[in-house]
Amino acid sequence: MQINKKTNLKAWKRAQEIGPNKILKILDKKGLVGRGGAAFPTARKWGFAKDAKADRKFVICNADEGEPGTFKDKSIFQNNGETIVEGILIAAYTVGAKRCFVYLRGEYEYLRKKFEKQIKDVLKKAKTDITIEVVRGAGAYVCGEETAIIQSIMGYRGQSQYKPPYPPVEGLWGKPTVVNNVETLTCAAQALIFDDWDPNLRLFSVSGNVTKPGVYELPLGVSMKKLVEIVQPKNKLKAMSFGCFGGIMPIDYDMIINNETICKEDCSHGAYTIILIDEKQNIVDICLSIARFYTYESCGKCTPCREGTIRLLNLLKKVKKGQATKKDLKIMDEFARHIQETSLCGLGQTAGNHIITALEHFPKDFEVFRHEN
């Protein structure tokens, strides 16, 4: 796998030789974009922070991988921790930061000891005064959002903040801050020295009713058919979901997986998380578990997400009990869309997707409980 190729401090040395401007040029040319989900060009993000004038700047490595069905960052930590550190150093060097943080998902505590040792070793070999601290999250999903991470590191409630100002201009303690995903930073180091580095190779976290779930490195443009062949479903597949926030679609074997196709399906592309669901499942059950997730993980700050997610969950429970009326389903659809439209951050803006898509594509699954009773 390309992502597991070690850079062995060569990237760090190269970075220092060529200087920040050239680094940005190379990353731009190689087409590196954020791998956390938003696909923002990395060179541009770093450029903003580099050009911002401030006495202090910071780099945060976002390792708060909390999206259900996503576990790619974990595999990078397990296989290529040193290169993550090198990526962080290069980011810090490029923007002019001296202090860096790794915001580690609370549940990944078991990865911490090994990674902290790797940090120590790499920093020693790299001979730099840049420091890297590991900060452990407390298990809140919303802290994967960059402004919430910043709040959390500063010791405040992990809640999203209104943007702008964007972190590269005003982040940690009001200073320019680059927040990048683990995979992005690792790729940054690799892209700098490997001539054959391919921006189209992405990590796919595949799970669900399949016999071989796991992390796969596949090129963008791979077909769903090919992917399904690799992971071997247990039964005939019925639906696919690109992470919780991606909604639930009928399985489409002809689908070509890339940014455009996934976005056309009206859902966020996320970090190439694919959950495959077979015919034995009822979609309402899937929705219930996703709704439980959102209801628990909403930070509580803005009204639609705080009050809306619990209402959607309660309505789904009603469906499951066979008590939901047509009017209830209509309210569900209305408010799922409303939460998406009026929420403050990405969590709320996707919190209704599963219900909108499920109601559209699998209406029979919602009816079945009523017939049972």
């Binding site: 809140a140 409630r157 628990y296 909403s298 509580g300 700050k301 009204t303 705080r306 009050e307 009026t342």
Partner: protein, 562 residues
């Protein structure tokens, strides 16, 4: 920068938010969590408008160049209504008596009943000054922001996550268990009435109905320019006479004026100050009229105890004189006298229960409670004929009136201190440097060759700033509420930001029109000292009119052992 608002071309400077632009155009957008003095957190999502087809919160969004903004199409109106519906508390009743801000918004958007069940199940907290019912709360967060960003107290924050998020002190403690200065700024900034004062109306009514009790009421300086608002009068209407008349109709036996208490405070405080200057006592001396400030000091600034004046607050002084001097004069057993203070303040409720006050005042009603009491008695406030305060404790000066505005105590004290110390008449009574709505004000005056520097702060953050620079000054006035008592936590809840200024101006106007404007010229003050107290700061006045301070924990309400 050019934008289009509801089809109209508008020029904007790029710094204004969409809400600012709309306000200028007189387009009314409902807002809930927005407060002009606070950072727009955009929590409530009620002020939605459409910008280029997408819904955005107008309070926090600056328009893009060329943006098309629509404030009133179906899409926008329905989305606003849905968010209000989601947070609609079941327990909220929009009655005529308590016209909460949210009720006005409901009217504005044409609110229907919520389609959802109530999910909140909290136990209301009955504190010693402040009562909270989280079931009414809609999590707008204004109380949290005011408590922290403006008052610097940080007594409350958000606890819990998702739909369990609620406002409470850290660790889900009760408000009465933590370091809270009871200023009540959270109350006057709450749009739903989820926070309110601990009511003393019932106790007052019991006393009024008891024929054996002689119930005396005394009214604070700051309420005469605000209580009229509760009866539909404009802000800053001076209604002293109507207020006295209404109180008599409520059944109070005597109506006294805390302005007189203020005059006596000035006599005690300026004498204490002059003594400190003369004898080299601890300076700067800091005023102690504000019980919110006293709690602030007791919790967070123990080092300032020597700087504090030992004077009680005006209403406690007057209450004490009612139960001693007046009781003797009128031949009433002090035990049968019940003193009720009408205050613009919630912290006074706590103050009146302090053991060191020795029950000079029995109950404290806020301005709002007074309004409720008058309405309950079916008194037509607006058409009442003016009446005068009762003798002997009803004569006061303009110096007492201006206690209600930030800077007023200092101004009144300087008028008297200057004349007591120099024997000369003060040239200009108005100390313009310490008037107005600035958070920190300062000035200086030459008394017998010494340049006395004084400063005034109101609002927690400003008090904190002034404490850092205290060494520069001789005399400092502190008021916990921004603007002073005119903006106190017990005052009528207002939405027009001009209100505080208007209340303040009315007090200064009242002072200007008074025949007596210096505390030491008040004949009843002179009589009191001559016949009863002796000199200011005498042994007797120390016993009755002065107090001491209790050190309290930084985080909890508990007292520290000495």
């Amino acid at each position: 920068m050019k934008i289009k608002v509801d089809g109209k071309n508008v020029e904007t400077n790029g710094k204004e938010t969409i809400l600012d632009v709309c306000n200028k155009l007189n387009i009314e957008i409902p807002t809930l969590c927005f407060h002009k003095n606070l950072f727009p957190e955009a929590r409530c999502r009620v002020c939605l408008v459409e910008m280029d087809g997408k819904l955005v919160t107008s309070c926090s969004t600056k328009p893009r160049n060329g943006a098309k903004i629509i404030t009133n199409n179906e899409h926008v109106l329905k989305a606003r209504k849905r968010n209000l519906e989601l947070m609609q508390p079941e327990t909220l009743v929009c009655s005529k008596e308590d016209d909460n801000e949210i009720c006005q918004i409901y009217k504005q958007v044409g609110m229907d009943d919520s389609r959802f069940d109530q999910i909140k199940e909290y136990h209301p907290e009955l504190g010693d000054a402040i009562v909270r019912d989280e079931n009414k709360c809609i999590n707008c967060g204004r109380c949290v922001q005011v408590c922290g960003e403006i008052q610097n107290v940080y007594a409350i924050g958000f606890q819990g996550r998702a739909h369990n998020e609620h406002v409470a002190p850290f660790g889900n403690k009760k408000l009465s268990e933590v370091a809270c200065i009871k200023c009540g700024q959270c109350i006057i900034n709450c749009p739903v009435g989820a926070i309110s004062e601990r009511s003393h109306i019932k106790e007052t009514e019991v006393a009024l109905n008891d024929p054996k009790k002689h119930v005396v009421v005394q009214t604070a300086p700051a309420i005469r320019s605000s209580v009229g608002e509760l009866f539909g009068m404009s802000a800053g209407s001076l209604v002293t006479g109507k207020m006295v008349a209404a109180l008599r109709r409520c059944g109070f036996d005597k109506v006294f004026d805390v302005n007189l208490g203020a005059d006596i405070t000035i006599m005690e405080e300026s004498s204490e100050f002059l003594r400190r200057v003369k004898e080299g006592g601890t300076l700067p001396m800091i005023t102690t009229c504000c019980p919110g400030w006293i709690l602030y000091m007791e919790h967070f600034h123990h080092e300032l105890v020597p700087n504090m004046s030992t004077c009680k607050s005006p209403h406690e002084m007057l209450g004490m004189l009612t139960k001693t001097y007046y009781a003797k004069e009128a031949g009433i057993n002090p035990k049968d006298i019940v003193v009720v203070s009408i205050m613009p303040c919630t912290a006074k409720k706590f103050e009146s229960q302090r053991p060191e006050m020795k029950s000079g005042v029995d109950y404290v009603l806020t301005t709002r409670e007074l309004g409720r009491l008058i309405k309950r008695k079916n008194i037509d406030f607006v058409s009442l004929q003016d009446e005068k305060f009762d003798e002997p404790l009803g004569i006061s000066t303009g110096a007492g009136t201006i206690f209600g505005a930030s800077g007023g105590v200092m101004e009144a004290a300087l008028r008297t201190a200057y004349e007591l110390a120099t024997g000369k008449v003060v040239e200009k009574l108005e100390f313009d440097q310490i008037r107005g709505d600035k958070g920190i004000k300062e000035g200086s005056i030459n008394i017998n060759g010494t340049e006395i520097k004084f400063a005034v702060a109101s609002g927690g953050k400003n008090m904190e700033k002034l404490i850092k620079n205290k060494e520069k000054y001789h005399f400092i006035e502190m008021m916990a509420c921004p603007g002073g008592c005119v903006n106190g936590g017990g005052q009528p809840i207002y939405s027009d930001p001009e209100t505080v200024q208007q209340r303040m101006e009315a007090l200064y106007e009242d002072d200007k029109n008074k025949p007596l404007r210096k505390s030491h010229e008040n004949p009843i003050v002179q009589k009191l000292y001559k016949e009863f107290l002796g000199n200011p700061n005498s042994k007797k006045s120390h016993k009755l009119l002065h107090t001491y301070y209790t050190l309290r924990d930084r985080f909890e309400a508990k007292e520290l052992k000495k």
